[in-house]
């Protein structure tokens, strides 16, 4: 029955309380209470009476009430000594606790008393009331739900009714496409390519502001077209820009006067009230062009080249081939400029190369972000897989050197330009030759599979009407590279041509002359003429400007006629025919057989122009057919 002991720890606050602060700032402290003083003070604070009455509540026994009375009496009495009050209260508490314990014991032991549940009367008309209550509950729940639905509907309607360009909706749309962040009260956005791998120094931050003008001032019709969101783009990114790439043929030295900003008409500044998306896209494009140009300019300055690259203002000039130069110009119009700069001069803007430039820079961006994943993951990051394996696979010096080599943007674009120039030249030359020489047909088959640095063409020379004679086909295969053209002829001879147009033209002319000889040979076989001799490099006759003339000698089936054909790339075709030597006496005793008559005779040139026929092959066939005597 002993009461459990409770540990009460009493501890004074360590710091002194401030009683007052004098005007000169001095603080007057209250001296701390002594231990016993403190205890008394704390004990005073305990209101035992209140605690009892509140905690136990009403269902207390008789004894408690007495205790209450006692306690109240004790409280009224003047205390004899400081602890009297406390003692009384504790005593009362003890009494009460003892009584409570006794009651509990009695109830628990069940020897003297039994406790029973007090039976309460069940409420009548249960179901009706319950139904009512439920109904009421459901009704109120339905009310809440309906009210909520109504509110949602309303807000939805409001959303619908609201103009499309409401600021926050616009902001939401903006946020879906652009990077935004809130700094203080302003909303800043970033339109740079940094997150896509760019390392350009110039930032591309813009500010988003609410357009208050339209909301208040202008009419509804205007408001529907204009956005309530406005973007402020840094001045250096305003306007529109593009990189103009031009391949020019210049006579003699470099032409520096062309470094004038010329803006094509189509690409003018956008109106100041354009939609923010347009503005941002334009600004981003400006930033991209600037990065591209600054990269190229930096490379142009750093690169050592045989003919130095020239960077003048917003133009980079580099020599591609002698007399052909590539100029890359950064065109940036801020829109505030007057229209003077619109130069009437026609600019041959090369869209393909401009596109390649954009592609190259984007590739650089891509590479800076996309590193090959190291396997195992603890291996070094940021190097290629090949480099990572270089050590353990004992890769040789040369391969390692190759790995370190990388081409700059400028070098790459110059290569592409060279190829483009070379391809264009080849195309033009082939077309020009084909239209100039109608006799043998010249077909060029361009391969559809080509790259920006290599393309192929097969040139086939045939004679009209004789295409079925396969041996007469004079085909060659041209592989157009960066600096030169590799040619493989029909007889698998490999020739490397430089960038000069003349070389291709000469080659084709030489091939034409070869084609004529091939036609002669094939026709001879067809008409059973004899093929006596052939020389691909005739040492006699008129000198050719280049290459050599070929010749062939054919004899009719019964050996009385001979045709000699000489075909040169510049001297053209000459057909000579030998007829019987009439001057030799047929009855000469020394001639035992008729065939010996054929030994002599003179060649006479045939005037091809006077022979019918569309081309040389027809004409030759006609000649051969007409001179053949029946056996």
């Amino acid at each position: 029955m002993a009461s459990a002991s409770v540990n009460v720890s009493v501890e004074a606050v360590q710091e002194h309380k401030i009683q007052e602060v004098t005007l000169d700032g001095q603080e007057i402290y209250i001296p701390p209470l002594s231990m016993s003083e403190n205890l008394a003070k704390l004990a005073h604070k305990i209101d035992f009476y209140k605690d009892e009455s509140e905690d136990k509540g009403k269902p207390t026994s008789e004894g408690e009430k007495e205790a209450e009375e006692e306690a109240s009496k004790a409280a009224v009495q003047p205390s004899l000594w400081p602890w009297d009050n406390i003692r009384n209260k504790l005593k009362a508490a003890l009494t009460e606790m003892s009584v409570l314990l006794d009651v509990l014991n009695i109830a628990k032991e069940k020897r003297y008393m039994l406790l029973d549940h007090v039976s309460q009367d069940a409420p009548e008309a249960k179901s009706a009331i319950q139904l009512m209550a439920k109904k009421k509950g459901l009704q109120s729940a339905a009310g809440v739900l309906l009210a909520g639905a109504e509110r949602l509907k309303k807000s939805q309607q409001e959303m619908g009714n609201r103009p499309q360009n409401e600021f926050h909706i616009e902001l939401l749309k903006l946020r879906q496409n652009w990077r935004l962040k809130k700094v203080g009260k302003t909303i800043l956005g970033d339109l740079s390519y940094k997150s896509a791998g760019s390392r350009f120094w110039q930032g591309g931050s813009f500010e988003v502001i609410k357009n208050t003008n339209i909301a208040s001032g202008e009419g509804d019709t205007m408001a529907s077209t204009r956005s309530s969101l406005e973007v402020v783009i840094p001045t250096e990114l305003e306007g529109s820009a593009f990189v103009q790439v031009e391949v020019k043929t210049v006579e003699g030295s470099m032409n520096l006067t062309s470094a004038i900003l010329r803006m094509p008409h189509g690409l003018g500044p956008y109106p100041s009230d354009a939609h923010w998306q347009t503005k941002l896209e334009a600004a981003q494009n400006v930033l991209f062009c600037k990065e591209l140009f600054s990269q190229l300019a930096r490379e142009a300055v750093q690169l050592k080249s045989f003919v130095p690259y020239i960077v003048v203002g917003n133009q980079i000039i580099s020599n591609v081939f002698p007399n052909v130069q590539l100029s890359i110009v950064l065109c940036h119009s801020t829109g505030k400029k007057d229209k003077k700069s619109q130069h009437p001069g026609k600019v041959e803007h090369n869209h393909v190369l401009e596109h390649s430039l954009h592609q190259l820079l984007r590739e650089v961006h891509f590479k800076s972000l996309n590193m090959s994943v190291p396997h195992p993951v603890t291996a070094t990051i940021g190097v290629t897989k090949r480099r990572r394996m270089a050590g353990s696979e004992a890769i040789g010096r040369r391969e390692l050197l190759e790995m370190t080599e990388s081409e700059t943007l400028l070098e790459q674009i110059i290569k592409q330009t060279r190829h483009a120039v070379l391809r264009l030249r080849t195309m033009k030359v082939i077309d020009a030759v084909a239209s100039k020489y109608p006799d043998p047909q010249i077909c060029a088959h361009w391969s559809c599979l080509n790259s920006s640095l290599e393309s192929n063409v097969r040139v086939i020379i045939t004679s009209q009407g004789y295409e079925a004679m396969r041996p007469t086909w004079q085909s060659m295969y041209l592989e157009i590279g960066v600096n030169d053209i590799k040619v493989v002829t029909r007889e698998r001879r490999r020739i490397i041509l430089s960038f000069e147009e003349k070389e291709i033209e000469d080659l084709i002319l030489w091939q034409i002359s070869q084609h004529h000889i091939a036609v002669c040979q094939s026709l001879a076989r067809l008409l059973s003429w004899q093929y006596i001799s052939h020389s691909s490099a005739t040492g006699v006759g008129e000198m050719e400007d280049f290459a050599t003339a070929s010749s062939v000698l054919l004899v009719s089936p019964n050996s009385d006629k001979a045709i000699a054909v000489r075909s040169g790339p510049t001297t053209g075709l000459h057909v000579h025919m030998k007829s019987d030597a009439k001057d030799i006496d047929a009855e000469l005793a020394s001639i035992l057989e008729a065939k010996w008559h054929n030994l002599t005779g003179t060649f006479k040139e045939v005037d091809l122009n006077r022979i019918d026929g569309r081309n040389f092959a027809t004409k030759l066939e006609l000649i051969m057919a007409s001179v053949t005597r029946k056996r």
């Binding site: 270089a390 050590g391 353990s392 696979e393 004992a394 890769i395 040789g396 010096r397 390692l400």
Partner: protein
């Protein structure tokens, strides 16, 4: 990377090493070879200091200028680890002495060997004439001949033999011992190192037997 054979070249008593090297180089130049830089193969050795291990280990670290990103480590049991240059740093970690602690491997003093000299190219062949230097003393000459287009030694041995005899005489009568055992396998840079290790060991032995400047082959 093709097939490589390494042979020691004798230095006669009356001639200095440099003279012999010059003679070989002159012969190569007469054959039409042209210089293509220098080369160097070096080796450092470490000795194990592990009490628990049953036997002492020797670890040789090789560098070959032909594979500049690689460090070859060969244990005396013959196993060769091909690795990045940084493996050397790992080995140095093992040789590191912390305060009051002992290291696991110790560098062997005066055991650094290297073979360096001119590198020649002649068609598909690469010839390297190296002077072997042990602890900054000239010890002999090693000639390395590489035939680039072929990686299986047996396929090109006769060709190489013929080529080598044109300037080395009958030094190259048989394939090197290391190659002989693996004539039909694919040649790797590791095999070059094994050949060098064999020759370097011979030079070291010769030195310790105090027979100076005569390769024992």
């Amino acid at each position: 990377m093709g097939t490589i054979d390494v042979y020691p070249y004798p230095v006669p008593e009356e001639k200095s090493g440099q003279q012999v090297v010059d003679t070989i180089q002159k012969q190569l130049e007469l054959l039409g070879a042209h210089k293509s830089g220098n080369f160097c193969v070096d080796c450092e050795s470490y000795q194990s200091n592990i009490q628990t291990a049953t036997q002492q280990r020797l670890l040789h670290l090789f560098h070959n200028s032909e594979q500049p990103a690689t460090c070859f480590s060969v244990l005396d049991s013959g196993i060769c680890l091909v690795s990045d240059l940084l493996f050397e740093v790992l080995v140095l970690k093992l040789t590191e002495k912390k305060t009051g602690k002992e290291c696991y491997y110790q560098q062997r003093k005066g055991f650094k060997v290297e073979s360096k000299g001119q590198r020649y190219e002649l068609g598909d062949f690469i010839v390297k004439v190296g002077s072997v230097i042990l602890a900054s003393n000239f010890r002999g000459i090693l000639i390395e001949v590489e035939y680039c287009p072929c990686v299986i030694p047996s396929e090109c041995w006769n060709l190489m033999k013929e080529f080598m005899q044109s300037f080395m005489g009958n030094m190259a009568e048989n394939p090197p011992a290391h190659i002989k055992s693996k004539m039909d396998t694919i040649y790797t840079p590791e095999d070059t190192i094994q050949q060098y290790l064999e020759h370097f060991n011979n030079f070291r032995k010769a030195t310790s037997a105090s027979v100076p400047a005569t390769p024992n082959r």
